[in-house]
Symmetry: C2
Subunit: 606 residues, 2 copies
């Protein structure tokens, strides 16, 4: 491999050239605190919600790419370098990045000094821990300066990058020994702050971006680093950052270890301050005490290792194909858990501010991890179902922090409700936990208005039945799985978003894909009814399924393949009669899995 290789024994991907074709990233964190980190230490952290609780600032689509992250700078005589190559980009004598399960280890070496940084979010910990090891591999005494660096986001990631007339006036920090606190708006209306600590004496600090970097410098040439001396700046407004400066002396062969913590703290309203303007640091102190040294971090890493071993042991494949084993036993399940954790709400392309968790996505993703984490799958199912409307429809997205539906996007994506039947039936298949069907679940998060989860599934099912079009096929609403298929809500106005454009009045477009889905997952609903002894309910549902099959056969079959849809004007989409776009894959897959027309076809053959 040109850029790296898999190390299966350690379950790591090892990158050996920092200049990958695009940043290659890892996702740290499993429950509340999350970090995205690239192979050159670019990226950002957030607490639960990538929009509303962004902890460090990140500039997407930046020049250079992925500029900004959790950086360390080393000043060794007249040379300045970073262990992850970026942001300084001084050529290194050695570079390696190991993306592991829940941690990333970056090693760089230059002129007889080796620096290794392990970034991880320990289990149940509201923070990112960075273990730094510096080793003098030369024959000479080394006196160097080590600088840490993070740039705070002013909490709301969208506001942070647009509303400068306000933001540039709000930044607030507090410095207490070797701990730097970011407390913007904590006094006014926030019950949370962040901190960045190190377990060693510091020679200085910086909290003001311009003082540290210099107005006209990039991340690659901070004034303070070039000077080998922090300016002890205290930010008031503008762009608060946190940087520690450590003076490190290493004899030949010496090794020193440091622990940095980037933490997030919430305090109750009445516990916010211990004295006027002095914030309550007890939770911070407890977090810092947890990781006094490298050994304690190693323990947390071992715990994380165990955690993943347990998850990955649920389903193991032993084949002769190394690549297949690797895929099935490590990286696919890891990917599925990460997708569960983040639900596609943040990446280096998804800016984390335009959407929450998808109703459709979250139900789908769930089937990839339900066998590994059934409890969390159950929790997710209840969260999702709680945003459903009384009529069975659903918000297309919901906010991970508030767990409420996203009003900006709204609903009317008519495939959405059916995915809930899929996730629940898959959950039951993996766990045998039929009792989930009896859990009381609110509609639209209104606790005063709730029904059993079974009732939610029924509403999902009948939402399709109650929303059929001229060909007795399901109305597509704003879109089905294919979000680009805006058959009712096309727009010629470039100033409106496709995603928030509502249907044309009385949108008439129908989806053959949803029809296939209805038949396929409807049968799961029937099985559930039968298991509950609701034979009549099952029979009624089966009738609906059968009429849907007939509708597809009558109006959704093009002769050799399934149509895709009818548009708002009743025109066929995905037919041989068209010049282009004659066949769409979604309808073929789902109608085939639903075996629509199979009986008829089988009859024909005989």
């Amino acid at each position: 491999m040109k850029y790296g290789y898999f190390d299966d024994s350690k379950r790591e991907y090892v990158i050996t050239d920092p200049k990958t074709p695009y940043p290659w990233i890892n996702y740290l964190g499993n429950h509340d605190f999350y970090s995205l980190i690239s192979n050159t230490a670019g990226g950002y952290s957030f607490f639960k919600d990538a929009k509303l609780r962004r902890i460090t600032r990140y500039r997407y689509n930046n020049i250079p790419v992925d500029d900004g992250g959790k950086y360390f700078y080393i000043k060794d005589e007249n040379t300045v370098w970073s262990p992850g190559w970026k942001p300084v980009r001084t050529p290194l004598d050695k570079y390696e990045c190991r993306h592991g399960l829940g941690y990333t280890k970056i090693t760089g070496a230059k002129d007889g000094l080796e620096a290794q940084i392990t970034y991880t979010v320990p289990l149940g910990f509201w923070g990112e821990v960075q273990k730094v090891i510096l080793k003098n591999t030369s024959e000479k005494l080394k006196k160097i300066q080590l600088f840490s660096f993070v740039e705070w986001c002013l909490w709301n990631a969208q506001d942070d990058q647009t509303n400068f007339q306000r933001n540039f006036n709000t930044g607030e920090v507090e410095i207490d020994g070797n701990v730097i606190f970011h407390k913007t708006e904590y006094r006014e209306r926030r019950n949370h702050y962040a901190f960045y600590s190190v377990n060693a004496e510091i020679a200085g600090f910086d909290t003001d971006k311009e003082s540290f970097l210099g107005l006209y410098n990039g991340f690659d040439t901070p004034d303070a680093v070039l000077a080998g001396k922090a300016t002890n700046s205290e930010a008031h407004g503008w762009s608060p950052i946190a940087s520690h400066c450590l003076e490190v002396t290493l004899k030949p062969g010496d090794e020193k270890e440091y622990v940095f913590i980037l933490g997030y703290v919430e305090n109750k309203e009445e516990e916010k301050f211990v004295a006027p303007k002095v914030i309550n640091k007890s939770r911070t102190n407890a977090m810092i005490r947890k990781f006094p040294d490298g050994k304690s971090v190693d323990l947390a890493l071992a715990e994380l290792q165990d955690y993943w071993s347990k998850l990955l042991s649920v389903y193991r494949l032993h084949s002769d194909d190394e690549k297949l084993n690797r895929m099935v036993n490590i990286w696919n399940p890891y990917q599925c858990m990460i997708t569960y954790n983040f639900s596609r709400s943040a990446s280096f392309f998804e800016s984390g501010i335009g959407r929450g968790m998808g109703f459709r996505d979250s139900n789908q993703d769930l089937i990839g991890f339900v066998h590994m984490a059934p409890d969390r799958a159950k929790e997710r199912i209840i969260d999702i179902a709680s945003t459903q409307f009384e009529d069975g429809g659903a918000y297309h997205q919901y906010q991970p922090l508030t767990k409420r539906g996203n009003h900006e996007i709204g609903g009317n994506f008519n495939d959405d409700p059916l995915w809930l039947i899929l996730s629940v039936s898959e959950y039951i298949k993996e766990t045998g936990d039929w009792a989930i069907l009896d859990v009381e679940v609110p509609f639209d998060n209104n606790e005063q208005n709730s029904a059993s989860l079974f009732e939610h599934l029924k509403r999902s099912f009948y939402h399709v039945v109650s929303n059929k079009g001229a060909h007795h096929l399901p109305l597509i609403g704003r879109a089905d799985w294919n979000d680009c298929l805006n058959l009712n809500c096309f727009s010629t106005n470039p100033d409106e978003s496709f995603q928030t454009t509502e249907n044309k009045e009385g949108g008439k477009a129908e989806s053959v894909f949803i029809a296939g889905m209805f038949v396929l997952y409807g049968r799961e609903f029937v099985k559930i009814c039968r298991h509950k002894g609701l034979q009549e309910e099952a029979g009624l549902a089966l009738q609906e399924i059968e009429s849907m099959e007939l509708a597809v056969i009558a109006h959704g079959w093009d002769g050799e393949w399934y149509l895709r849809a009818y548009d708002h004007f009743g025109r066929k989409v995905g037919t041989h009669e068209n010049k282009g776009a004659q066949i769409f894959i979604e309808a073929q897959g789902f109608c085939s899995m639903a075996e629509i027309g199979l009986k008829k076809a089988t009859r024909k053959k005989h």
Copy 2:
């Protein structure tokens, strides 16, 4: 001066050190096409609306500051430099930036080569023209490469920086000789594109950001420039840019001149294409033909000079104070016109995407330029008044492109309506154009529902009368002039914006400032009524003004100064009884100008 000086004879501000304490910017353009440009050529362009028609991309709050703009790169042997110092930041032998009225001239010199670039937006022209002069001041033959650079914005500036999963797939360009077209979404639902041309043969071009810069390089070290050779890249998605590469040979003493045009074109739906996929370039060609050479640009600059001379000649001060003359005769009126043009909708701090034109701001700004441009003031008044509600209330902002009220922010800023009385009365005082009062003006842009402008003023006046609180003072609504004084719509939820938070149910806070304003501008309304012969109307209005005066005297006077307000709970704001914030300036200024209590005070003295 440390960084520069005023050149009054040329009406220019001259910057002699590129490292100003913050970028010092100029605003180019007067009607439709606008550019913001810093002293190092950073900045961006847009057409009418900084959010919806952003032409070039700009990253706010960037590192380094103000990175991104209309850059030129010169490769002279092994040295790469930029005439504006940035982005390359190679030390220059000479640097000068002249911010003039509607143009900016940047000169840099290095190793016997001088480069001068004049950036301007000619009158009535939908584009920015850049005249480049290269001069060999050395004794040697010079063979250099000149690279131009702009980065396209994908039109909607907000979407452009957030919605990457869509945007990275949409970018489209077309290259035709020495003209580079940016035509993203032109095929689908836009009737506009942009282009970047040069009036000379090119050795190559680039339209893909990554190909030109290199993934891991900043603006300071583009791969193509370092190599001295364009890659002729054609962008498909990602980040389209436009860069020309010219091979230039200059004998000692030689001078060469180039004209680059960054243009914006709109075509009618039926004229968009001349052949499948081939866009209609006739308007582009006409624009390019207008500026075949440097002389034609000089003519446009002379026209611009005349235009400004005429505007500035309306009001001239001749005093012995050089600084006062400079302020009154050049820079204040220039600033006022710019403020008219941009209405504070875009700057290096206002990202141009969070707001449109302010109702309050636009009425206020108008009084600064009405004597220079009465026709445009009239147009602006009608535009503003057209967004007013039937009950006299107003949208707080409106979109410059659509000229419609901004629903996201909404209304209920209760000072807003009164500012319309100010602007109209000032307009009439300057012009004597009483006829403006009879112009039919819609409410909420509904042409079916309109009334005379006079009727709008009356509704403004009575909007205050109909919205009084417990102390007979005007209800403040969401805020008055002081947008931080959220007395009804305070928020403890950090996830909601102060600006879009609505009033508490039945918001009861009252504003003494609006009371002063009502008395002050209400008297202007009375004068207008009298001039129209509406004596009864005038009398009724006067009664309202008098009761307002009485209310202020009774409830708005703290004994030694005017109160500022009553909050939602009926508590006084701005009183000696408070621990802090005992006196606010706004109420003092306006109640004094309105002479509230003057009679009483005068009586006392005698």
